[in-house]
Amino acid sequence: MSLLGLAARDGRTKGREVNLLEVKELKVHFPVQRGWFGRNRDYLKAVDGVSFTIAAGETLGLVGESGCGKTTLGRAVVRLIEPTSGRILFDGEDITEMRRSKLRLRRRHFQMIFQDPYGSLDPHQTINQILGEALAVHKAFRHPVNRRNRAEELLRAVGLDPGCLLRYPHEFSGGQRQRIGIARALAVEPRLIVGDEPVSALDASVQAQIINLLSDLQRERGLAYLFIAHDLAVVEHISRRTIVMYLGKIVELADAKTLCRAPKHPYTQALISAVPVIGPDSRHKRILLSGEVPSPVNPPPGCPFHPRCPIAEARCRLEPPVLRETAPGHLAACHLAK
């Protein structure tokens, strides 16, 4: 661990490519009270031992159905939710137990974009104030005039008219608000942006605009993304590697194209076959999963996916599978994956 840390720090100083973000065995458990006066404490294991890395300038996609823990993971990574255990290294530096004041300085480097473009902008603030606040908090541009120039520059970068700085969020459409959210995240020149379903609330034609914008910004600024979404097609389009989560655990991690072309985990296979395809024969070749995602408070023993798995065997009910490398760079947590 210390060796790894050293290597990473070394890499930073020499400017070699190093993992920008490294997450090790991250767990987020929420206490759920049960019984009389909450005497029996259960834990909802929203994220249960997740490890991954993101290189500088890379996009890592994260897909899963609702309740699989993808949002919790995204928030825990930037410590908007405190992890229960595990380690988060940003640029080689451990931020898991960093003091709030210090963490705030580091947050400049990792920002977040949220799903709901209506809920994530303060309706009482003008766009100038919204962007200015981000700049002020991070003491990036102290002088108000500089700040104003910076805000205009940001709006131009996300394809909005700088003239609308004095308008309020309600005057914008959903797609435009999402652009404002992106501008706010960009304000402090972060190196990593965690996007929690940033395009899910948008209409198809606008969604494509925002996806293209995110790709352009990445190319221009060398940003790394942790891109969380439930839409596999969107994730495949934007990411280099993709993680599939189920009940708080990673079930598969692979190169984005490989994952969609040759998925190894039966859950990924079902997920891909359920994606609606525009075309005349979109109802064929579907693997219909029976049942629904079980409760994460009481996950099934053995492989958490076995009750819905079409190929489950006896040992799947007993032994939890480990995430193992089935091909170079392709990890799957399934006893039967080859």
């Binding site: 198809a204 034609s205 606008v206 494509a208 605009q209 194209k257 609606p276 005349p280």
Partner: protein, 330 residues
């Protein structure tokens, strides 16, 4: 005779003295046993159209300022309240996007279904029939689940309960307004499969309202694409998906990322859907259209039948070779 025939429907909303037209001279028909998809982005008027079929829009502010809606051989817009009550449920039922908001939170789902049975099929209003309906829509252990309150069910099960409730009255037409938008893809696949099977067993028609072109291919017989209050293209589903002719349908199909399609950039439609108070003159899509012609801003195009049953609201539909066929679709 068509089960549902909407002719030149116009719907306006009057708020604070300003009249905004949400649906403009819309015509649409659904034959018995047919599934028709109405596709469009938010704000294009598709839900308003759906609600108007049973005259469910609150009026005021809504106003039916023109056209006719023929449902099962009778005109809906001139019906009296008592007549409306008779068609709601009995002829047309609805399934909405958010089942949690559509089910009554304070009643057990079994009793909600039974209430509908008592109203529409009083002779069969029994616990037995309730259980049978719940079993039909694939709710596990229906004898126990009928005693659940809506909040005790997951989203997918709530939507199944909602479908059971809608079908309890044995409607001839089921209007499903974005029935799977709030659900995960694996659950979405289950619900669509269920709707498809039930349609077969009950011999009803479905009007499916959606923004997701991906679910059209497996469900619909015919598709109508709406943009800014007007139908811009309508055709048999396979025709439209293989060869979309209107520039908007074409762009909409191209703008959706597809699995296994490794194009570097998505073809985005520039700009945004116009708001109701600032509708562009002439063709409403012209400010965003990639093949706009000088006179597009001048005169409003009409729907023309370019092939049998394939209607397009664009005089320049033939300008570019139709390349709507997704490269990877087999």
């Amino acid at each position: 005779m068509a089960l549902l025939e909407i002719k030149n429907l116009q719907i306006e909303f009057e708020v604070g003295g300003v009249v905004r037209r949400a649906v403009d001279r819309l015509s649409l028909s659904v034959e018995p046993g047919e599934t028709v998809c109405l596709v469009g982005e938010s704000g294009c008027g598709k839900s308003v159209t759906a609600l108007s079929i049973a005259r469910l829009l609150p009026s005021p502010p809504a106003r039916y300022s023109g056209g006719q809606i023929w449902l099962n051989g009778r005109e809906v817009l001139c019906m009296a309240r008592g007549q409306l009550r008779k068609i709601r449920g009995a002829v047309v039922s609805y399934v909405f996007q958010n089942p949690a908001a559509s089910l009554h939170p304070a009643f057990r789902i079994g009793s909600q279904i039974k209430e509908s049975l008592r109203l529409h099929r009083p002779r069969e209003a029994s616990e037995f029939e309730v259980v049978r309906l719940l079993k039909w829509v694939g709710i596990p252990a229906p004898e126990l689940r009928r005693n659940d309150y809506p909040h005790q069910l997951s989203g997918g099960l709530q939507q199944r309960a909602m479908i059971a409730l809608a079908l309890a009255s044995r409607p001839k037409l089921l209007v499903a307004d974005e029935p799977t938008t709030a659900l995960d893809v694996t659950i979405q696949a289950q619900i669509l499969e269920l709707l498809h099977t039930l349609k077969g067993t009950l011999g009803m028609s479905i009007l499916l309202i959606t923004h997701n072109l991906g679910i059209v291919g497996g469900m619909a017989d015919r598709v109508a694409v709406m943009y800014a209050g007007r139908i811009v293209e309508s055709a048999p589903a396979l025709d439209l998906l293989r060869r979309p002719l209107h520039p908007y349908s074409r762009a909409l199909i191209q703008s959706v990322p597809r699995l296994g399609n490794h194009e570097q950039r998505l073809v985005a439609i520039p700009g945004q859907v116009p708001s109701l108070d600032a509708m562009p003159a002439g063709c409403r899509f012209h400010p965003r259209c990639s093949q706009v012609q000088p006179d597009c801003a001048g005169k409003a195009p009409v729907l023309i039948e370019v092939e049998t049953q394939h209607w397009v609201r664009c005089p320049y539909w033939a300008l570019r070779p139709a390349t709507g066929e997704p490269k990877d679709a087999k």
